[in-house]
């Protein structure tokens, strides 16, 4: 099984840019009902564990928060690769660097160009890690924060977002063509423009390369389904 965790991937944008490989066979929105805020680490931790982790992850230390393997669906698989997965294998230094530059941007000490360069550099690193993992493990999950990180400062800049979505679409196409495995694409939340900036919305995205028959699933609903894939694969 392959999971593409795409931070802030937004259904409207996927449709607008006609990203057929991201949409796959079934696609729709996820619900964040039960969550007070659209916090990245909380939502991914909830996705990995199948339960709402909001009260267990303090805001201040959220980026250092790490789940134990046995609390996640990864433990159901014999082998797994988790590329930069928040609350699990997050590349702390890369994300700390992005947050530092974000802060510097609001302090008027840097430009969006410098920030974008670092985000794209980190993205390329994750892309290499993901494609090196495919075919090696029973479950591969790759996390990409490109749409979120670029979107926060440039969601209202169409040419930048078009480039972001084209890149994510390309990754989805390569993943789908490289394996017949079950491919799940999922985001933690959506995004909307605030002038040239981008703000989180409560509309997450999911898609699968097979019919699941889901209707506005919660982000925590995928846990059981992913574990059942592990059981099928082991029999």
């Amino acid at each position: 099984m392959i999971i593409l965790g795409l931070d802030a991937l937004d259904l409207n944008m996927v449709k607008e840019f006609k990203c057929g490989n991201l949409m796959q066979i079934e696609c729709g929105q996820t619900s964040l009902s039960g969550f007070e805020l659209e916090r990245t680490v909380v939502l991914w931790a909830s996705f990995l564990t199948g339960r709402n982790m909001e009260s267990e992850i303090p805001l201040k230390t959220q980026w250092e928060f790490k789940l134990k393997l046995e609390d996640t669906f990864f433990s159901s698989f014999k082998t797994y690769d988790a590329v930069d997965v928040p609350a699990f294998t997050l590349k702390d230094e890369n994300h700390a660097e992005e947050r530092k530059l974000l802060k510097k941007f609001f302090d008027e000490e840097t430009t969006t160009d410098e920030y974008d360069d670092v985000v794209w550099k980190n993205h390329e690193e994750n892309k290499n890690d993901l494609f090196n993992s495919i075919g090696r493990s029973d479950l591969v999950m790759g996390y990409f924060d490109l749409a979120d990180a670029i979107g926060h400062l440039s969601f209202g800049v169409p040419e930048k977002m078009e480039k972001v979505y084209a890149e994510l679409e390309k990754i989805a196409r390569e993943v789908r063509s490289s394996s017949d495995d079950f491919v799940l694409v999922i985001s933690d939340h959506g995004m909307k423009p605030v002038g040239k900036y981008g703000d989180h919305t409560r509309n997450g995205f999911y898609s699968a390369n097979r019919r699941l028959g889901l209707n506005l699933p919660k982000i925590t609903d995928f846990y059981g389904m992913i574990r059942s894939v592990a059981k099928i694969e082991s029999t």
Partner: protein, 267 residues
Amino acid sequence: MEDYLTNLERKSISLIREARAQFKNLGVLWSTGKDSTANVWLCKKAFFGKVPFPVIHIDTGRKFPEIYEFRNKVAEEWNLDLVIAKNEEALKNGMSPEKGKLDCCTQLKTEALKSLIREREFDALLLAIRRDEHGIRAKERYFSPRDEEFRWQYADQPAEMWDLYVKPSEDFSHMRVHPILHWTELDVWQYVQREGLPINPLYFAKDGKRYRSLGCMPCTVPIPSNASTIDEIVEELAATKTPERAGRAQDKERAYMMQKLRSLGYM
């Protein structure tokens, strides 16, 4: 029929008295700007000439000399219980905007106030913010709870219908009360004019420039203007359709995003 300014004043005084009745240890923030000076004046009027709680000035050590001069003069004339919040340690360590504007504001304003709140056990503060200042403030309520980290749950606020406000609770660290939330910039200046309130001279034009809002020296810039009296400022504002932060439309979005990214833990 009462005039417009009297109606505004009556609502504000009612909010101040409500705050005083609800909370044991109230304080009022005073930057010495026009809004907070009008707010302190309303507190004075609400309690028949004497502000019965501390008046807090956050001293960043980076303010204009005119601000300190004005503060000391008015505090004496109005017989205020002036309390200074100052982060001496950050200043000693050389904190300044060059080290990052966000960090500077956090250390010299937020941390200074946090520490004073802890020390003096304030359970509510009166602040002179207005809804028309920028987008994020338009979401505020008259009674607005904060946690220990000053976080504000703007997505979870009551509607405040029929003058019903959030009550004291252990669920939050302190309450922010905003008596002039419903005023506009012009309302404040007309009120200053009507009541004959003292005003910091930095607001008056000199050589074709004046300050429209007052802050720390390194981060505050004057606007082009020839208004050198209160009457002329009122006239200038009444004639313009341009809002207080005119020409800084992006600032509203920027301020909103900064607040949002902070609340999500990005910064």
